[in-house]
Amino acid sequence: MIEIAFNIATIRKDFPILNRKVNGHPLIYLDNAATSQTPQQVIDVIVAYYQNYNANIHRGVHALSQEATDAYEAARVKIQEHFNIAKPHEVIFTSGTTHGINLVANGFTSLLRPGDEVLVSAMEHHSNIVPWQMLCERTGAVLRVIPMNEEGELVMEQFHNMLSNTVKLVFCNHVSNALGTVNPIKEIIDASHSAGASVLVDGAQAAPHIKADLQSLDVDFYTVSAHKICGPTGIGMLYGKEEWLKKLPPYQGGGEMIAEVTFEKTTYADLPHKFEAGTPNVCGGIAFGAALDYMNGIGFDQIVAYENELLEYATSELLKIEGLKIYGTAREKTAVISFNIKGIHPYDIGTILDKLGIAVRTGHHCAQPIMDFYQIPGTVRASFSFYNTREEVDKLVAAVRKAKDMLL
């Protein structure tokens, strides 16, 4: 069934960038956790927008403005439906995940008191650590860390013990960017709620692999970046429960977010506009919707089944290389392999792979606490997407062997 529905050759034709060469070799793009490539269908939507109906939205009396507004708001509804969100105005367009997290962290400034506790997981991206540290500095709240184990899984027993009535907020990613671990967010959300704490889940790395049902998760906030799911950069969404979005103050002042302005007082617009100051990324929002259409057209079940197969194959092939260690061996993980070879710096491996046309990420992946945990300077991270192939895995493995021979 999956074989018939999932024709990798056809899918690859959708991505023009996959035809290019890098350093004389056909590009093998394995940095999908950093950003995904864009299919022609989404590129067409971006081009069509600028060719046919580029306009400022929500205020024009003219036809272009109306068309652009309709398309932008239709994209909001697509996002709402994709994530099974109750109301479209619970979808806030942002510039990306980091923006969404900062919006919430900023909003909580007036809601926290000294001594309140904020929990973050040990495997967060810096984007989901720094805003909370800043929030704690502003409010006198205390940041505490939910520990992880050697496999790269959260130690849930300790998490449950950390919960108390002084814990007000819990932040966790759905999937770790550096390790690929899928975190048990339903358990985290339910337990946090029982203790009276609210939960923000960073869904940036989960979105390309998991179609999250936000109503059934009952999460308070969930953030996503479009560029990880075949959309353009500079656009993302923040989901917030209506009651929370009403309670939080606006993040930025400006156009679009006001109801009425006098020099004495400004009243704010209703949701979602209260959080969407200034001219938004109209084209980006529309393309975000098109990207979700594209991914849903293939189907997340098919995508995940195929990626898991690739992950399993790549893991077993890479582990055949002597001295290679994989970091992040959680039972549940997405198609991400973070690894090192004994005696070789990850940067050196990445440089040789690049010369062979293979794009991977090296370094700490904006998750230094994880690298400190393993006491390593960084890793080489190969992250796979549904448009990668087994042949590309073979070439990766051969290239890693070559790099090892050159470098050791």
């Binding site: 350093n23 070789i344 710096h345 940067y347 050196d348 440089t351 040789i352 010369k355 090296t362 370094g363 300077p377 960084g378 050159m406 470098l407």
Partner: protein
Amino acid sequence: MTIAEIQEEIVDEFSMFEDWMQRYEYMIELGKALPLIEEEYKTEDNIIKGCQSKVWVHAELQNDKLVFTADSDAIITKGIIAILIRTFSHQKPQDILDADTEFIDEIGLREHLSPTRANGLVSMIKQLKLYAVAYQTQLN
């Protein structure tokens, strides 16, 4: 030898190689042969910022010439710093300041010259020249 003569010599050596693999293998060799920095100088202060791998550089004045020693935890980076040190070490600070680094392009390492490149070749050159400025001031 002057800096320009040394650079010419390096360009000659690299011109023998036919492809990038040979160039990189040679660079790795140079990295392995790099005279190591004394452990006591591998301090936080001596780390060059802007590199994905760690690079330590130490400089000291011997007579009127600057002598550099360095190390890195990544071998390709070590090769690059080895090339720079071969060029600039045992030279007068003013000569280091006057020298250009066009030869990096000529030996096929242009891709490392971009200021946004994570290995920070540009940062390394800048750091070596900063040492030269500091010691030149001292000499004056």
